[in-house]
Symmetry: C3
Subunit: 618 residues, 3 copies
């Protein structure tokens, strides 16, 4: 139950005579987990059918003998050249219709059946060989699905598979009517008439795009499942995947359904620079600390994806090489980031990576040790963390407050933002940020599957469409419910939902108008605050708790259910949430500035994301 530290390691990059000393030093530093193997296909099978597992045997043995547990990755993220030569049509095709070339990684299309089988066979071979190897603790499939915009592929294979998927989905149901193809004479005669929704003159039918997104997400899940099933034939050890933060092109919950452990790769500074939903001033302020809430959000997310079992597989230890700007973390931040993970219940935090290579794409990506094998200063921080976590536990109890995140909603509002500012992730993340300011523990909820019974308060901003499962969950939910704008405004076929959220509010509510607002344009609320980005004008028989200057309700209430008819400014959002949590009987702990609070078991963490150090008064 004690959390652990680990590291990512590439024995194939270094002379074999360095391995033992590397392993010794890892253990000495307080690390007990080491992930290997996930890009090594060209060294495991340099030519078709010519296998070289011996070096991997020796690497595992060397690491394991030193006292480390090994996470073994399947190498399918980097199909070598000979596989691409064998299957030239296995390359993914980008939205512009161009095949993506060999020469980096993740160049395969999830819809290529031949490569899918090759990848599963390789997983099978590894599982067979190492099924009973005591040094192996668990598996990782592939690496960072979706990284480098590699989920959506517009290849011929994807087209064929999409048509097949549509046949399966619709069968005898009328596709034309479901999508509304009468509009603009877009009717199809057969499923084979349907093309992929790229390069159209103006936007394609949103129902068409949405089904392509669903199909694509399922292709990723099925692709992964092929490897998982191959491994499970031989080996009963847990299987994980390392997800990537802020990547939403496939449904992580649904992929997680068939995995045992969720891990994610946390690069607080790299992600900050890469995000479009934070402005320059914010990025400047947190240039060396990272977004104070971004890591926490993903910790809470992957705890749910992993059904409780999760960790950080790659933790940024210094400047990376891939963000627009790559500053160094403020001294002490790697320790803060590590503790933020443990405060959320991580079983382990693995740093990326042991030693910085002197070659190839990531030669400027720092590690724990420099290319010349001298340690970076961060090693001292890590040793410190290793001692600090000895008395911790990673058993994190369920929170009192749930916040719903839904991948389908992300796809839906990317397809139909209706205003450039409407970004579903940003919307949910602003609610999350408000909760963080209140110092409470939060669960990210998979509304399709997570049980809701324990929550005192549940928050659902912007959820596209309630499925039957969701409706049933909500109908049985007894706590306080905060619903955000656009929630349930569509049905699952991407048609306007005429009844909207009325069922949850219990009283009729009808929509007069929705509008998106340009930056700077706001709709004032009568009692202070305003709506930005998104504004809805409703008529309702429920109680109008707050009114907007346009004469329509801003906050609508029926009993424990509250609906916010727009995107509130952050102070207003904080106020509404705080009030509602208090009503729900949740204790809050308003945090000064960018200090953050998190509790696990008996332990309370105070995490400081301010530029200045702080003294915790105890």
């Amino acid at each position: 139950m004690t959390p652990r530290l680990g590291v990512c390691y590439y024995p194939e990059h270094w002379p074999e005579d360095m391995w033992a000393e590397d392993a010794r030093e890892m253990v000495e530093m307080g690390l007990s987990l080491v992930r290997i193997g996930e890009f090594a296909w060209s060294r495991l099978e340099p030519r078709e059918g010519e296998f070289h597992f011996e070096w991997l045997d020796r690497a595992i043995n060397t690491l394991g003998s030193a006292g480390l547990k090994v996470v073994l990755g399947t190498p399918s993220a980097t199909p070598p050249k000979w596989i691409v030569d064998k299957f030239p049509d296995m390359l993914a095709v980008d939205k512009e219709g161009r095949p993506r070339k060999f020469g980096s990684r993740r160049h395969y299309c999830f819809s290529h059946q031949g490569y899918r089988e090759f990848a599963a066979q390789m997983a099978s071979r590894l599982a067979e060989r190492y099924a009973d190897n005591d040094h192996i603790e668990f598996w990782q499939t592939d690496n960072e699905y979706g990284c480098h915009d590699t989920t959506l592929s517009y290849s011929d294979n994807a087209r064929k598979a999409f048509r097949h998927w549509l046949k399966e989905r619709y069968g005898n149901k009328p596709l034309n009517e479901t999508w509304g193809n009468v509009f603009w004479s877009m009717d199809y005669e057969t499923f084979d008439d349907v093309d992929l929704p790229n390069l159209t003159v103006t936007e394609p039918n949103p129902a068409h795009s949405m089904d392509f997104r669903r199909f694509t997400s399922e292709q990723v899940r099925n692709w992964d499942l092929a490897q998982v099933e191959a491994i499970r034939k031989h080996c009963s050890k847990p299987i994980s995947h390392n997800y990537m933060g802020r990547i939403t092109e496939f449904d992580h919950f649904r992929l997680g359904d068939h995995l045992d452990i969720a891990t994610w790769d946390s690069y607080p500074l790299g992600f900050l620079e890469d995000r479009s939903d934070r402005d320059e001033e914010f990025k400047h302020t947190f240039s060396r600390m990272g977004d104070p809430d971004f890591q926490a959000f993903h910790h809470d997310l992957y705890r749910t994806v992993g059904k409780g079992r999760w960790g950080v597989m790659e933790q940024q230890p210094g400047p990376v090489n891939w963000a627009p700007y790559n500053p160094a973390p403020k001294p002490g931040m790697v320790r803060v980031w590590s503790h933020e993970a443990f405060a959320h219940g991580a079983e382990f935090v693995c740093y990326f990576r042991w030693r910085q290579p002197s070659f190839a794409q990531e030669q400027m990506h720092t590690a724990l040790k420099r290319p010349d094998n001298t340690p970076y200063p961060v090693c001292d921080e890590i040793r410190h963390v290793a001692t600090e976590i000895r008395n911790l536990t990673h058993a994190r109890p369920k929170a009192e407050i749930g916040l719903v995140f839904d991948y389908r909603s992300q796809w839906a509002w990317e397809i139909q933002p209706q205003g450039q500012g409407f970004d579903y992730f940003k919307l949910v993340f602003e609610y999350y940020g408000a909760l963080r300011q209140l110092g409470v523990n939060i669960d990210i909820v998979d509304l399709e599957k997570s049980g809701l019974s324990d929550y005192k308060a549940l928050i659902i901003p912007g959820l596209f469409a309630f499925s039957d499962a969701m409706k049933e969950q909500l109908d049985n939910f007894k706590g306080h419910l905060i619903l955000g704008p656009r929630t349930n405004s569509k049905d699952e076929n991407f048609k306007t939902n005429l009844t909207s959220v009325s069922a949850q509010l219990g009283k009729p509510i009808s929509l007069d108008m929705v509008e998106s607002l340009r930056p700077g344009t706001v709709v004032e609320l009568v009692n202070g605050g305003h709506f930005k980005i998104w504004n809805e004008c409703h008529k309702t028989e429920a109680q109008t708790e707050e009114l907007k200057a346009d004469g329509y309700p801003a906050v609508i209430r029926n009993g424990k259910c509250v609906y916010m008819a727009g995107w509130p400014n952050s102070e207003k959002l904080l106020e509404v949430i705080e009030t509602e949590l208090t009503k729900a009987g949740c204790k809050t702990y308003k945090q000064p500035g960018y200090n953050r609070r998190q509790s696990i078991g008996m332990h309370e963490f105070q995490l400081n994301y301010e530029a200045q150090s702080a003294v915790i008064k105890g």
Copy 2:
């Protein structure tokens, strides 16, 4: 002579049992015109040769029996999938060389002869069937030519047609000499050597680009003409097309030559957000009112295109779905927009559309009624307008002041802006805005064809090249003439015109230099004001009325003709125009702020585009 209100309707989107009640409510609301049919090909001919006109018969009969007159559209903007399968090469090709896929609308190439004939045959069939149907008032061909950047196509068919067009145009005239192909060894041996002017290393010869733009414009005209001739074989009712504001890739005047009525689709808020020639502050200010002059400009333009007969075919009634931001109009604005049209002589204003669909691409585009059939609040405004227009007339007398707009000049200066800020539409529109501030009625003049005799003042900013017809018109013109920068600086073959505007000024004028200016760089005028964007340095024997700080004349005069040697700031422009109009004997009515004045017959309209309401003192 009384103007009317109408609406766009899609019977194919709704159960047939709703039609009669819809029609009844339209009439009850004060509407008397209804446009239908323009996207319905897949329901009129779902498979080749399988026609289903019966439902359309019933729809027309239901609407007509309720007292509505029908505008019937030909459905050629949305060729169904089976036509694309029949003619795979009918898809337009974008500038990057990519065919534009099926799945939205306007995917055809104007140069595909096969589809042109199919579209004309469908028009012929409709005309034959409904030639004598009393409910039909007039026809509409296709829908919004040029929308979604669909005029210019770089397909094989376009290439072949362009070569043919060049043969026709040049015949025995030397193309190489006319274009100046000796430059950079670009000479051609035969017309079949000439390619389309995309994907060249650096810019192609502007004469080459200009001919491609001319060719493309004529392709649109001829494409439309094929339908018009097909209709006229069977039916003598008027024929219209619904143009789109701010689309200039084809010459609307020349298309209008063979049509009877011009209509346009007016989306004041959508267009405001979509324009690059207005800054963020302006967009913020007019976010809910639209540009105070943009609709007026197009009303004046299409009155000329329609040779006096025109209307608004699609009037925005609420938030749309296609602009970067989609706010709601300020209450009352739909009324203001409607009256702006009638003040300019519109025969009708039709709202888009009757009922918002719950499906497909425009499900977020508001209408008069919501998807659940409840009315939007705008319906009350429309009822009010219906009562207000009962005593109006749409007979708009010719204005005293003409402002020339020329599509060829738009193409020329897009091809050769010579400075990023030089935008012909923006230049003309700034002159138009100054005139609007002076409260006068304006005619947009087609200098090729409009008679000039009645104008006291004629304004010609930035006109590329005077054709022989234009020269003759100007030679006979007796009123005041304000010429703007770049006017007549080229000949029709896109060569520098060495004599420039001298003929009009009556005195020799020679150019020392022209320069384009970066934002913020200006050339001061000695008596106040400045030139921005564009500055010309002339020597002249005419009178220098104003001098620039660079020692060259800013305003050059000979009698009633004035030439402005640059792009003036708005205050200066207003001053020069006001002075000249006064000299010309035109009465002006300077407007406060963003109030606008327009008169028609005995009626004077005061239109308020300010954020606050205003009281008209009488």
Copy 3:
């Protein structure tokens, strides 16, 4: 030894009966050099094998007889249509994979063997015909290699040639190990497995990209060499090429190795607007003067490229047509620009061009004379310059200070900037600007070949990797050495150089960390000033001369060698350089504002780039 003025002329653009008068006027204006022929292929060989040199004979004779010396260009930058028809695969292919079409210029791929031979044969024919023509002074090959982004081509021919080049380069050396292809399983089995590094999913291996850049640069050199060898078979006159400022895709030093004279095309205003490394305020300030140091930098650069023999082949005389904005030079600036060239030792300055054409792509590009043959006012300035330079000499002695510029480093840091702000040209140029403020003469040094013995101080900012030749030069160098950030941080195979700059500093120095900084983020120096963009954290046994606030050294010294561990702000940079130059015994002349000083022989030039005129106190 007296410098001269000249002009570019296109006899093929004008009626033959104008030539003699043109020539007479050129001479009368003080010009003695005229460049012709470089785009005339379609008039020299309009169809394969059909040659028309007679008009060129007459043009040369007319110009020569008037007293002008002729520079004759080979016309290979503009292959005519029939050659493209003969070799359809000769078109260059852009990074997106699209062939670049005929219709402008520079559409050929440097890797097409067929066109390379055609171009060499045309050069051979010209050389044979004019070998002994006394009017010809020297040759120019092609025109502005690299202009319009035409160096890098991703064609099939380039792919084949690259594979061949790799075979030649690596032969028995292990490519996979040299590049580090074990990373991400990128190993290749044979050289024919290697593709061009475009359209990969994420960045390709930097070693792969770097070799492609090296290959491309050598392709340009070899392409040029084919023409040079063809000319030399027949003619012993000097051969030149006109390089383009700010173009770095091929190594100008290495091309210059086989040429006799370097020329460059200087467009101070056009280049200013086109650059991304200067901000809007700077561009606004120097809109009419150009960057005060940009021309000087290139003069110094091409003096080295030309091994002492160089000139300006095209000098901007007024507004051009190709920059985003095209203002007119401030009156007097053409004179300043001309003198800046002569102050740096130019043998000639040729203005571009004699007469502005009224047709084709450059019809808005001014010249000395307008299309109607009237002179532009700049002609008076040029006459003035002609009289002023009579007593000058172009023998420019070697400077005391050398600044290293290295094309490979430009490629390396484009491939691996590691932070968006890191621009090698900008880095070197900031050092150059500081030197200019100090009023000293500077040599741009080709560290591979230039002798270093005369320099009192040598400055090397950001040099990618020291080659053996460079190391040897530096080992023997006795003067002061200022090394900038990133210098020698890689080896030539794009691996991290573990020993870094220690050898030059003489004492061990090791790197703790490097980081790139976002705009606005800086690292303060303890004694004032700061690092921006780039910051390095070193441990060293050498002397820490200045300390940063992060506790690491900012300036490290060992004897005469100084290393700056970051990118200093401009005041700090100036201070460090001034101090070091003083220690090195170099006299400095701090310049007020944007005045600039340059000396040649007995002459000292004061060049004024301020908006206001200045009086030189003597």
